[in-house]
Symmetry: C2
Subunit: 240 residues, 2 copies
């Protein structure tokens, strides 16, 4: 069965957390909106007046008859099917809890440049973005990074993974969080990374995995840009 | 087995979505932080340096050896155990996707009074809150309500439930969303509710269920207040 991933073309965004899992597993998938006519097909599906599972927003995954929305939900579904979830049922809920903390972190990163409204341009909310980003960098960023570091160092199976003794989709998502934060806030990350060595080591280990390495060098990997969640606006970062 | 729910005392907040499921099922549970010494016990658990599943924030649920964090994750876990999830596995992912859309909606409601930072008082971010709330009420509120209405009316099993043909935790959460929005934005809700009759009918049906009715009249049900997610600041609502 070919998995169909639906997400906005042109940005890594929230879709990237799903792509990384599909790529690491070597899964057969189509990134629908990046095919000719794909964005139209995605919008049609979202407006389908008959579909009981119509999603609120991308990303969503279609697997045969099933349509599954929200990153954490997609990964909870895909994890066991791709060999990227813990075997133990209890640990699967731990993984899902961690993924939902990542979801919250990503939403807060988005709001550093969009604190007033998603429908407005960044340029329409710059003074507010400046305040929100300052608050995020001084309080929330160290809190999230410290929490993820703690999860790794408290893992009874060792700090190489976030849940259990094997690679999971949570590890892949943490890699992407570090990548995105380094893109958006290079100075702030430089002054925080020393405090989170296990998280940095996990990032580097994921980046070196053969399938991820090959994916990162391919044109399937979209570069970060200023239409994405992680945006580089130097005025929102710490001074160099 | 007695479920232990950990959440801040004094507010319904995010804990309420879990409480409603436990109450509807007549489950045996303890609302830990509302017991003597309970908040201290909760904070101790959150700081536990040995726990691999240490949560980022309340609410979390303890079921024997398991600690499960995040509302949607707790409900995904509890749903089948309380008879409040669809039997069909595919529909369980639909339910989880809906619950995650509710999670996003609740986070946006929170940010109407806290657009700059959770660590600041509302009084420190009033001008920004005014802008964010105006954007929320004009664009996001109708979008969320319309989406939930659509989910109900497109349910092949009929509009009385959000997923499948039976009451689920998603229905209970939608009740709470309507309750909270009516508390926070009474004028805005008055001008929106006519467009979402199925959602209002679902709210009323949940409120009339015997165990919910009894719960709502008990002192276990905490009133909304201005320390909660749903806050009544008349200056953020539409004019009457």
């Amino acid at each position: 069965m070919v998995f169909k991933l639906y997400y906005w073309d042109g940005i890594p965004g929230r879709g990237e957390f799903v792509r990384l899992a599909l790529e690491e597993a070597g899964a057969d998938y189509v990134d629908v909106a990046r095919q000719p006519g794909g964005t139209g097909a995605m919008l049609t599906l979202m407006k389908d007046a008959r579909d009981a599972a119509a999603p609120f927003a991308p990303p969503f995954l279609v697997d045969g008859e099933r349509l599954i929305s929200h990153v954490a939900n997609i990964l909870f579904y895909l994890g066991p099917r791709l060999g990227l979830a813990p075997e133990d049922e209890g640990l699967r809920y731990v993984a899902n809890g961690l993924q939902l903390t990542i979801t919250d972190c990503v939403a807060e990163v988005h709001d550093t440049h969009h604190p007033i409204g998603v429908s407005l341009y960044y340029e329409e909310q710059k003074p507010e973005a400046s305040k929100r980003a300052a608050n995020f960098l001084s309080e929330r960023l160290p809190k999230y990074l410290g929490y993820f570091e703690r999860v790794l160092t408290q893992n009874p199976k060792g700090p190489a993974h976030s849940v259990g003794g094997q690679m999971s989709y949570v590890d892949l998502s943490l890699f992407q969080v570090v990548e995105g934060l380094r893109y958006a806030f290079p100075h702030a990350m430089r002054s925080n990374e020393e405090q989170v060595p296990a998280l940095v080591a996990l990032h580097d280990a994921v980046a070196a995995r053969p399938r991820i390495l090959s994916y990162l060098g391919s044109d399937r990997r979209l570069p970060f840009n200023e239409s994405c969640i992680f945006r580089r606006y130097p005025e929102l970062d710490l001074p160099s």
